[in-house]
């Protein structure tokens, strides 16, 4: 085998049958592993129109092709399923320690179908795979459940585990799957699918070797990369309070220049993702007040209270995901918050800080730490949860929700105490929390009275905390990706740092350009968004980290690692064709399930309709429909419907591949 294990495990939770299936080499060569392998299995296994919460849906937990080969920052595990949030393709991914454990058990992925009669978990150890009773952990939070299951199954080697929390058990459509004490594969409602199957978790203990074609060549690439990362340390005098100043300058610039991604890595090493807490407010990247406000509302007196330095002040140790040499994660002391209910929490990510900070006009950082731990233990996606509360706050402001509806909670903007209570109600599905626990689209449908005006989503999924009026290409990906509303697919900022044009012949090169170009629907911008999208599929096929990706192809050498690990000797252009095939297959999944790609167009407010009246994004509008059409056209998909064209399917050899399945 060459980097991959060549096998998947298939578990039928209705019958209890467990079988190993061999995957032919050419599937990996056409679709890699990870999300590509997941798309192949799910496209073939899930019948058209299947209920995402029914027995026919398939939930896959997969690792990446480069995971465990000796490459760096390729240790993410991914979950794939039909999403109950969007009705189409669903995936989510997470770092931590689970990904290599999947391969060490001998598999590239573990897939579940059916519904168990009672709560179970899957244990894979040297006795093989077996389903075990999970009734003793059903009802417990994710962190406690994980600790119990690991402790029960530790023999020589400590297992790796992934579990759902109570949000997943209660089939909240914004629930995720947790590992490593509350880190989530959060998006697409993957935790709801796991909960609907009464699958509490998976516990993996394996020591099978992960072989690759040329381990020494892999190591040489890793060593060169490590030598660059090792040198990246900021001098102590660089304070987090300077970052918003940089953001302000960036937000006022009329031109854009691609920066070296290593600069970003330097900041990540010190602060992790909360480096953006103030900077992204002042440059316009952070959506404010349910996407209707600006940094004039969430001004210095607000953003200075969630400053990056204040976040890491509580950090008492940093940590790395498996195979990561940057280490943006951290553990923070919160024993003085909430009467000491929790001793510590993972450092809240920027997304969590932004969605429970500026989006809600909240400047109480302590509340964000506390909410972070509530959601990590409950197993609920912070982006969707915070967005649902922003929706509720705006409905409350506009009189569509009353004190009676909220159960006496005063949902005025910035009321941190009420937000904490509402998060607890959402996880427990109590009162108003029950309405919000399935995301904003369903909440607006149930509430009616024109509340959909305040339900900010794309195709049913709440968007990440990066404003599409600041980076229109982000908006394109929010609207065209088969799993919409995701901030991790592509953006102009990502493209500029990834520097694909250095290795991919058709990726448009970037030098200094006027910022206004990003707001025009042009073939050049579309080609950039297509290139970003194809490359992200490769990253999700190898288990790669987005933050490694945006360090740039000249530093994080995914193409070179792939050749060393597999022996395929492909060119970057050939790998990009694989990325295009993976993305087209994900889109075909949606077409098969009757999802109209047009329906994923992001909420008008996200495109500047109506335009903001003040702040760095004042007057900014995004011609999103024209941009979506051009993106589809350059992908070889119908520019009016978004469905992949027959000739594209043929060129990508997907017709043959899907016939085999």
């Amino acid at each position: 085998m060459k980097g991959y294990m060549g096998k998947i495990l298939f578990v039928n939770l209705t019958t209890g049958d467990i079988e190993e299936r061999l995957i032919p080499d050419h599937i990996y060569e056409m679709l890699l592993s990870g999300v590509g392998l997941g798309a192949y299995v799910l496209y073939n296994e899930i019948p058209a129109g299947a209920d995402p919460l029914g027995p026919e849906n398939v939930l896959g937990i997969v690792s990446g092709l480069l995971t465990g080969t000796g490459s760096f920052m390729t240790g993410r595990w991914m979950v794939v399923c039909k999403s109950p949030l969007t009705g189409g393709w669903g995936d989510a991914n997470c770092g931590g320690t689970l990904a290599p454990a999947i391969k060490q058990c001998g598999y590239d992925g573990i897939f579940f179908t059916g519904i168990s009669e009672k709560p179970v978990y899957l244990l894979v150890n040297n006795k093989g795979p077996q389903l075990k009773d999970a009734s003793h952990v059903w009802g417990k939070d994710a962190t406690e459940s994980e600790e119990i299951l690991i402790s029960e199954n530790t023999a020589k080697k400590k297992p790796a585990a992934a579990v759902i929390g109570t949000a997943g058990e209660k089939v909240s459509l914004i629930a995720g799957i947790c590992n490593d004490g509350g880190r989530l594969a959060a998006r697409s409602g993957v935790g709801a699918v796991m909960g609907s199957k009464r699958l509490k978790g998976i516990v993996l203990v394996g020591s099978k070797p992960i072989k690759c074609h040329d381990p020494q060549a892999v190591k040489l690439i890793s060593q060169a990369y490590a030598n660059k990362i090792r040198k990246l340390n900021l001098p102590g005098i660089v304070k987090g309070s300077l970052l918003p100043v940089g953001g302000k300058v960036m937000g006022s610039m009329k031109h854009v220049a691609p920066i070296d991604g290593m600069m970003f890595a330097t900041l990540m090493k010190k602060w992790g993702t909360p480096l953006s807490n103030g900077m992204a407010v002042t440059n316009g990247d952070t959506p404010i007040k349910n996407w209707a406000g600006s940094s004039k509302d969430y001004n210095r007196s607000y953003y200075s209270r969630i400053n990056s330095d204040l976040v890491i002040k509580r950090e008492y140790r940093k940590y790395h995901c498996y195979s990561c040499i940057v280490g943006c994660g951290g553990v923070c002391d919160i024993s003085d918050i909430g009467q000491g209910r929790f001793t510590h929490t993972h450092k809240p990510e920027y997304e969590t800080c932004a969605v429970f900070g500026p989006l809600l006009m909240n400047r109480n950082l302590e509340s964000i730490f506390y909410i972070n731990e509530l959601l990590n233990r409950g197993g609920m996606d912070s982006i969707s949860a915070g967005s649902a509360i922003a929706f509720a706050m705006e409905c409350y402001e506009k009189g569509l929700l009353t004190l009676e509806d909220t159960g006496g909670l005063d949902l005025n903007w910035g009321n941190a105490e009420a937000v904490i209570k509402l998060v607890e109600m959402m996880i427990a599905r109590e009162g108003l929390g029950d309405l919000l626990a399935d995301g904003v689209k369903i909440a607006a449908q149930k509430l009616g009275s024109g509340s959909d005006k305040y339900a900010i989503h794309a195709g049913g999924q709440e968007p990440g905390m990066h404003d599409s009026r600041f980076d229109p290409m982000m908006g394109v990906h929010y609207s065209v990706d088969p799993t919409p509303g995701r901030h991790t697919i592509g953006a102009a900022q990502y493209y500029n740092m990834t520097r694909l044009w250095e290795k991919v012949s058709w990726a448009p090169p970037v030098k200094i350009y006027p910022k206004n170009e990003e707001y025009e629907a042009t073939d050049r911008e579309a080609l950039k968004s297509v290139a970003g999208s194809c490359y992200k599929q490769i990253v999700d096929g190898i288990g790669g980290c987005l933050f490694a990706q945006i360090m740039g192809v000249q530093h994080w050498q995914a193409f070179e690692w792939l050749n060393a690990a597999t022996g395929w000797n492909k060119t970057p252009d050939e790998y990009m064709l694989i990325g295009k095939r993976m993305q087209t297959l994900r889109q075909l999944f949606n077409v098969k399930h009757g999802v109209e790609p047009k329906s994923f167009k992001m909420h008008p407010r996200m495109a500047g309709e109506p335009p903001l009246k003040e702040g760095p994004l004042k007057g900014r509008q995004v011609p999103i429909e024209a941009m979506m059409k051009l993106h589809w056209k350059h992908f070889g998909w119908d520019e009016n419907t978004g469905a992949p064209l027959p000739e594209t399917i043929q060129q990508l050899e997907l017709d043959q591949l899907l016939q085999e399945g």
């Binding site: 400590k158 940093k318 790395h320 995901c321």
Partner: protein, 84 residues
């Protein structure tokens, strides 16, 4: 160190705390518990207090930075370890 049959020496000037060795060890002998060698509060791998290292070398083979040396203890060394 009790009856451990082996040990691992790590060059912390080179190690970057990626954790690949920890995952590779079939007996969970290593953990990220050592502070130092870094401008930040980062943790690096070291043998756990009651480890059962056999000196098998799987961790050092897996290490991309080749900064680990696995040593099998001879019988006399093990006797010393027990008596001390």
């Amino acid at each position: 160190m009790g009856m451990a049959k082996g040990e691992v020496i790590i060059d912390y000037q080179i190690c970057m705390g990626c954790g690949i060795c920890i995952n590779a060890c079939p007996f969970s002998c290593l953990d990220l518990t050592r502070y130092g060698n870094d401008a930040y509060k980062r943790l690096f791998p070291e043998l756990e207090p009651d480890h059962g290292c056999t000196g098998c070398g799987i961790c050092s083979k897996a290490c991309p930075l080749e900064c680990m040396t696995a040593i099998k203890k001879d019988k006399d060394e093990k006797k010393d370890a027990v008596s001390s």
